[in-house]
């Protein structure tokens, strides 16, 4: 219950952290709200996986987070970089936003590839994002020193509390008219990708420096 309440009270912050990915994602596909809800559930499934991973870490590593070690920086830096790559690819793969037409077959195949579960990976990688509410949850679990199930349950209920705030977002589907908004949203995904790329790079550099 405590995890749920913590999630509920901090959910707005989670919303603002997920919005830079979810808003352009929903607008870029040009699909209706119903389709967007399906995508949201994939996203949430990914996010839940990320949170449960945190649950395991919080139980296993105890004081892992506050120590600011090299391994920890790499742990967060690498997912950020993967996330950046995924966002950049997704943002710039469509013909409206493609950076170059890329004549090679490999490039064309990559652009045509449209994985059904991309929203899951977006959710997973956003779930591994070190946002303040997650840090709060993490600290709570590590300080209470409970067992694995307690930790997983805490993160699950925390996830449920925060997820409530994401439910209205698919309604953005009603704005999906015309190519303009889709193009803007795809570019925005690319820009968000660059931002995560910077963050990842900064984490990795810090990791190398700490070593």
């Amino acid at each position: 219950m405590k995890g749920f309440l913590l999630g509920l009270s901090n959910g707005v912050v989670c919303l603002t952290y997920c919005a830079p990915v979810l808003v352009p994602y929903f607008l870029s596909d040009g699909k209706n709200a119903g389709h967007n809800y399906k995508e949201l559930f994939k996203f949430l499934a990914g996010r839940l996986s990320g949170y449960l991973l945190f649950g395991i870490l919080a139980w296993r590593a105890g004081r892992f987070l506050p120590q600011n070690t090299s391994g920890e920086s790499v742990f967060f830096g690498v997912p950020y970089l993967i996330f950046a790559g995924l966002l950049l690819w997704y943002g710039f793969r469509n013909k409206e936003t493609r950076l170059c037409m890329g004549k090679s077959l490999w490039f064309q195949k990559l652009n045509q590839w449209s994985p059904q579960w991309i929203a899951f990976f977006f959710g997973l990688l956003t779930g591994l994002n070190l946002c303040p509410p997650l840090l709060l949850a993490f600290t709570d679990v590590t300080l209470s020193g409970g067992d694995l199930w307690h930790s997983l349950w805490f993160f699950f209920s925390f996830f449920a509390g925060t997820a409530v705030y994401l439910l209205p977002l698919p309604v953005l589907g009603i704005f999906n008219q015309g190519v303009t908004l889709k193009t803007i949203a795809r570019f925005a995904m690319g820009v968000t990708g660059l931002y995560y790329g910077f963050l990842g790079l900064i984490y990795l550099i810090r990791g190398v420096q700490l070593r």
Binding site: V12, V13, A19, P20, V23, V191, T192, Y195, R206
Partner: protein, 390 residues
């Protein structure tokens, strides 16, 4: 083609010297009041000289606009001069207040920077979404100063819309100036899809500013950090930020404008420009094309610095939403088929004055104080060897 297009078109720019003087008189009076701030003339000699140079420059340019009927060429002189003066003024101020151009992240997040209009979308939209005001600007002079700035911006937006970007922005003049250095553009073609990028950057900064409660654009992306203030290079992240700022500045404000003769930062990147474009929908002025006169030569599309004219918009007799009302297309159209238009009035070249007076007055007063102070600093440098006041 309409009947009108078959007739020889004779537009009479106001060539009559006396008429132009008479039309300049209100500007002479208004700028006198606004540039002195009602507080009388500066008492020191250098201050008085700076005031006189500025006053004469501003009013001669306005006179020439009326006399020749051309807008953009004279607007650009003041606009570019404003941008250069802003940098001199700003750097001088930083050196006086902080002793260097360096700015730490701490300074930025504590809001110890001057208020800049670029932050308006980052302040207004997240304020609505999260009820938290992010002000990456100094509030040391009190909320009243920031509120005044916002009111001025709002008023200017109602009259000028995105015209703010050609008649008020203290950065736009840099690339406007550089884009005029070459006679002809290179063959480099920019795909028009990039016109959407500023809106994407706007979406990104609004969402991330709301998420991180920090001015993401100022912290990560502002190209003008390169010529105003930047972080000391004491860490790797600071080095990365500096590389980003300088690359954006070099690419978008220097190299691409020089090669393409376009304002690429304004047209392809600036989120404030994108935000300001939205105000074009509600403001009273616009740029319109008379399809009856237009011969589809495409000259306006070629010269538009912000990519705001294309075949589709031309066919509809309009510019795109991003038009910043610089007047370049109006000056270049061989058929004089493009107009400054006030909504609700008939298409006529005389209505240009309805736009020109407020727009020019805004530029003259907004730039006035800064130009005067910059001239003052340069005079000080020449006469005393230091541009610092006091």
């Amino acid at each position: 083609m309409s009947v009108l297009a078959d007739k020889p078109v004779t537009i009479r720019p106001i060539k009559n010297f006396i008429k132009s003087v008479l039309l300049t008189l209100p500007m002479l009076l208004l700028t006198l009041v606004l540039l002195t701030g009602g507080a009388g003339f500066p008492t020191d000699v250098l201050g008085l000289i700076s005031f006189a140079i500025n006053y004469l420059l501003v009013n001669s340019l306005f006179f020439m606009m009326i006399y020749t009927g051309r807008t953009d060429s004279y607007r650009a002189v003041l606009f570019v001069f404003f941008a250069v003066c802003f940098i001199i003024f700003f750097i001088g101020n930083l050196l006086e207040v902080r002793g260097s151009m360096l700015l730490s992240r701490e300074n930025l997040f504590k809001g110890e920077t001057p208020f800049c209009h670029m932050v308006i979308p980052m302040a207004i939209i997240p304020a609505v979404l999260t009820r938290t005001i992010i002000f990456p600007g100094s509030l040391l002079n009190g909320f009243a100063a920031v509120a005044t700035m916002l009111i001025i911006w709002f008023g200017a937006s109602l009259i000028l819309g995105r015209g703010f970007c050609s008649w008020g922005c203290f950065y736009g003049g840099l690339e406007d100036g550089i884009s005029r250095l070459r006679r002809k553009p290179s063959r480099l073609k920019i795909d028009l899809k990039w016109r959407y990028l500023p809106f994407a950057v706007l979406l990104f900064i609004v969402l991330t500013s709301a998420a991180t409660l920090s001015p993401t654009y100022c912290a990560w992306l502002c190209p003008f950090k390169a010529v105003t203030e930047f972080e000391p290079l004491s860490s790797w992240p600071a080095l990365i930020f500096t590389v980003v700022f300088f690359s954006l500045f070099l690419g978008l404000v220097i190299i691409l404008p020089f090669l393409t003769r376009r304002r690429t930062q304004c047209g392809l990147f600036c989120p404030f420009g994108a935000f300001q474009s939205l105000t074009n929908k509600i403001c009273s002025s616009e740029v319109r094309i008379d399809p009856g006169r237009c011969i589809n030569c495409g000259r306006c599309i070629e010269v538009c610095p912000t990519f705001s004219m294309d075949r589709d918009s031309l066919a509809k007799g309009k510019t795109t939403i991003t038009c910043c009302k610089c007047g370049k297309c109006i000056d270049h159209c061989p058929r004089k088929a493009i107009y400054y238009h006030t909504k609700g009035t008939p298409l006529h070249h005389k209505t240009r004055l309805l736009f020109l007076y407020p727009a020019f007055l805004f530029l003259a007063t907004f730039s006035g104080g800064i130009i005067q102070k910059a001239i003052h600093r340069v005079l000080l440098l020449v006469t005393t060897g230091s541009m610092l006041i006091g």
